[in-house]
């Protein structure tokens, strides 16, 4: 329990990290360090994205598996680490390194 809290705190404490969200595979929020409205939005959109990415990867090669997703945007970077049951999302600003 506190281990998980520690892990999240450590991630947030990293330079440039804006927020951390942990979701179930259905997009329900387990943990989040950003304000709720934005978090729900992230949850909703990112779980859809994860799902479609998963499908795309599997359709291209059914032996393959989707393991990590980095989305570079002008403002920041969204890192998505999926799992059969959970999704970890970290938003960071790479320019602040």
């Amino acid at each position: 329990m506190s281990d998980i809290e520690d892990t999240i705190q450590r991630l947030v404490a990293k330079k440039g990290v804006k927020g951390v969200i942990v979701l179930t595979k259905d997009g329900a929020i387990i943990k989040s360090t950003i304000e709720e409205a934005l978090a729900t939005q992230y949850a909703k959109l990112m779980s859809q994205l994860v799902q479609s990415t998963q499908e795309a990867v599997e359709q291209l090669d059914d032996q393959n598996e989707f393991t990590f997703l980095r989305i570079r945007t002008k403002k920041h970077e969204i890192m998505v680490s999926p799992d059969p049951n959970f999704v970890l999302i970290v938003v960071q600003n790479p320019q602040e390194h």
Partner: protein, 664 residues
């Protein structure tokens, strides 16, 4: 077009014929039936029939008219809708069907306006049931059955032709009505299709909306969240994925860097002779209050470095010894943590199986951990006479990919050889004794070293300060065990490390080795290649090439650079990390830095490429230093080094403590 019209025409003809045939058949059937019923029910029915016949006849006529009008419609459209018409005629003309469907189908059949005015079999049946008391000997059995009048619309059968599905813009569409009809039908169908598609789209949208709403609605309660957080699955997931993210975050290079945008001045000019602290590792939970006893790099993954620790006196419940594997890209926590029941004194990655680590402990056990397993060791040696029972300060994996052994030495003089996958029993045991020694025949190895590529002969540094050569096996001219004829005297305190020159570059210097000792010195030796037991010869030949005496404290470790032939690094009890380049200077280090909080440094390890060193300190820190360009050898460095060594050999070494000789 012409052909199709012909076909149409043919079909129409056939239809007419079929219709005619059926009417004929029905007429004959009806007439025979009426004859039959008439004859059977004539006596009783005459009056009733006259009274009802007018009523039913009218009803019949009405129905007939209705049906005729309906069918007329359909008949009209039959020509237009070929497929429909076809199916209808087919179903109507199916053999056998008309017979059993006449009672029910008598309504749709009246395609023939000349339907018999007489009572239909339906009314006959009904009437027969109305008068049950009437005895009727030859008549067939009548039963009551409900009639359901069905007017099933024919199944829509979509057919497409292989031709282009575009509109046919023939010059006179209006002239040929069939063409026009066809076009209209097509239009209609297209319209239907469009409507259907629209409907489908709407349905899909609705469904999406529903899903979205469901998603929006889905929110976990506190209990659910707690349950998830406590599940092992979730912990594993967090552990793994946060490591991934942290590694990704630690990437120093931003591959999206836009070089067209002027960047802020980065005045991190690396001076030529400078080492830079690259990373420092510690973990509050695991490495607190412990000292680093050894550091070792992974041979396979250049970013992994393992460090072993002794016990934490403040935490009795924690395991006594631990080993952490650190990743240069994961700064805040160890990649793996391994446990041991006793202080771990030395650690090494298996050279040939990248997931395995071996460690020697204070209790004498050798432990084998696997990064694929959990933190407990996967294999351990027995704590009995069949293994070490004294602290193991040094171990080494020697051999090749297909034939390698773990060799370990404990302070009671026992040297064991192990097979990595079978630690239950040592393959060989060798007791090092020195029977000719003046005081005791016991030898207590504190450091051990194999020359590069050598597996049978090794050198040990002992607690008393002497270095001996020993053989693992019986050989021609020498027995297994300590070679008492070869004693390297020089240190006046326990030897803390012994390291042979790695074979690098064109010049072979693998007979050189360095020892460090608590007598504040580092010594450079040349191993006697031959094991001739001529004590006279060995006394004449100086094997001690040089003694480096700049340290102001115990020297805990000295290691050759794997890259540059003349460079080695030392660490001392005063927390100094010194880098020597013998080609530049044999009297003073080229670089000396105070590391961290000025705490004693226990161990030093060069990484595979010789560009980084890892230092372990007694205050539980592991430091990784980036050695700049100075360790990159130029070609002449090798020949220079050879010359330096010859020069060193030519100058006699002044032993700082001549009292050493009193031992013999």
């Amino acid at each position: 077009m012409e052909r199709r019209r012909e076909e149409l025409h043919r079909k129409k003809q056939r239809l007419a014929e079929i219709r005619r045939l059926r009417v004929e058949r029905q007429q004959t059937l009806l007439s025979s039936q009426t004859m039959q019923t008439d004859s059977s029910t004539a006596p009783t029915r005459t009056t009733a029939s006259t009274s009802t016949s007018s009523g039913t006849g009218r009803g019949q006529k009405d129905i007939d008219d209705l049906v005729a009008s309906l069918l007329g419609d359909r008949l009209g459209s039959r020509g237009t809708n070929r497929s429909r018409g076809g199916s209808l005629t087919q179903s109507l003309s199916e053999p056998g069907q008309p017979a059993d469907r006449t009672p029910a189908a008598s309504t749709p059949t009246p395609t023939d306006p000349l339907s018999p005015s007489g009572p239909s079999p339906l009314s006959v049946g009904a009437r027969a049931a109305e008068s049950p008391g009437v005895p009727s000997t030859p008549c067939p059995k009548f039963t009551v059955f409900d009639t359901v009048i069905l007017d099933l619309p024919p199944k829509e059968r979509l057919s497409y032709n292989k031709e282009a599905q575009t509109m046919d813009w023939s010059p006179e569409p209006a002239v040929i009505p069939e063409e026009e009809i066809e076009r209209r039908v097509r239009e209609q169908r297209e319209k239907d299709e469009k409507a259907r598609r629209l409907l489908e789209e709407q349905e899909q949208k609705r469904q999406e909306e529903l899903q979205r709403q469901r998603q929006k609605l889905k929110e976990l309660s506190e209990e659910e969240k707690q349950a998830i957080e406590q599940s092992a699955e979730f912990t594993d997931f967090m552990d793994f994925s946060s490591k991934l993210v942290e590694r990704a975050l630690n990437e120093p290079y931003d591959f999206m860097t836009d070089y067209t945008i002027g960047s802020q001045a980065n005045d991190d000019t690396a001076a030529g002779n400078q080492v830079k602290l690259f990373a420092s590792f510690r973990d509050d939970r695991w490495s607190k209050n412990r000292s680093v006893t050894d550091v070792a790099w992974s041979k396979r993954f250049p970013e992994l470095v393992a460090s072993s620790y002794n016990r934490n006196p403040m935490a009795m419940n924690e395991p006594d010894g631990i080993v952490c594997v650190w990743n240069l890209h994961l700064r805040d926590r160890p990649e793996f943590v391994f446990h041991s029941q006793s202080d771990v004194l030395c650690v090494a990655f298996s050279e040939f199986q990248p997931t395995l680590l071996v460690g020697g402990t204070y209790a004498g056990q050798i432990l084998l951990w696997d990064t694929r397993a959990k933190s407990q060791p996967v294999l351990k040696t027995p704590l009995s006479a069949a293994g070490h029972t004294h602290p193991v300060y040094s171990l080494d994996i020697v051999g090749t990919q297909n034939a390698h052994n773990l060799v370990s030495a404990s302070t009671d003089g026992l040297v064991c050889t192990w097979q990595l996958d079978m630690l239950a029993k040592p393959q060989e045991m060798l007791e090092l004794v020195h029977p000719a020694h003046a005081r005791t025949d016991e030898v207590s190895p504190t450091a051990m070293g194999f020359p590069d590529g050598e597996t049978a002969t090794f050198w040990v540094g002992t607690e008393e300060g002497h270095v001996y050569q020993a053989n693992r096996h019986d050989r021609a001219g020498s027995k297994a065990g300590l070679n008492t004829a070869e004693v390297y005297r020089g240190h006046s305190g326990p030897v803390t490390s012994l390291h042979f020159h790695p074979s690098c570059g064109p010049v072979d210097c693998t007979d050189l080795f360095l020892t460090s000792s608590v007598d504040w010195t580092v010594k450079l030796w040349r191993a006697k290649a031959t094991s001739k037991a001529s004590s006279l010869a060995h006394q004449q030949r100086s094997t001690l090439l040089h003694s480096f005496e700049t340290a102001d404290d115990y020297v805990y470790d000295a290691k050759w650079s794997p890259l540059h032939p003349a460079v080695f690094g030392t660490v001392t009890g005063s927390g100094q990390f010194e880098l020597w380049n013998l080609n530049n200077d044999t009297e003073a280090p080229v670089l000396s830095t105070t590391v961290g909080a000025n705490k004693a440094l226990n161990r030093l390890a060069w990484d595979k490429h010789g560009r980084k060193v890892a230092l372990g300190s007694i205050d539980s820190m592991v430091y990784v230093y980036d050695i700049g360009e100075m360790v990159v050898p130029k070609h002449q460095d090798f020949t220079d080094f050879q010359r330096t060594v010859t020069e060193l050999a030519a100058t006699p070494v002044q032993l700082s403590s001549p009292g050493d000789y009193a031992f013999d």
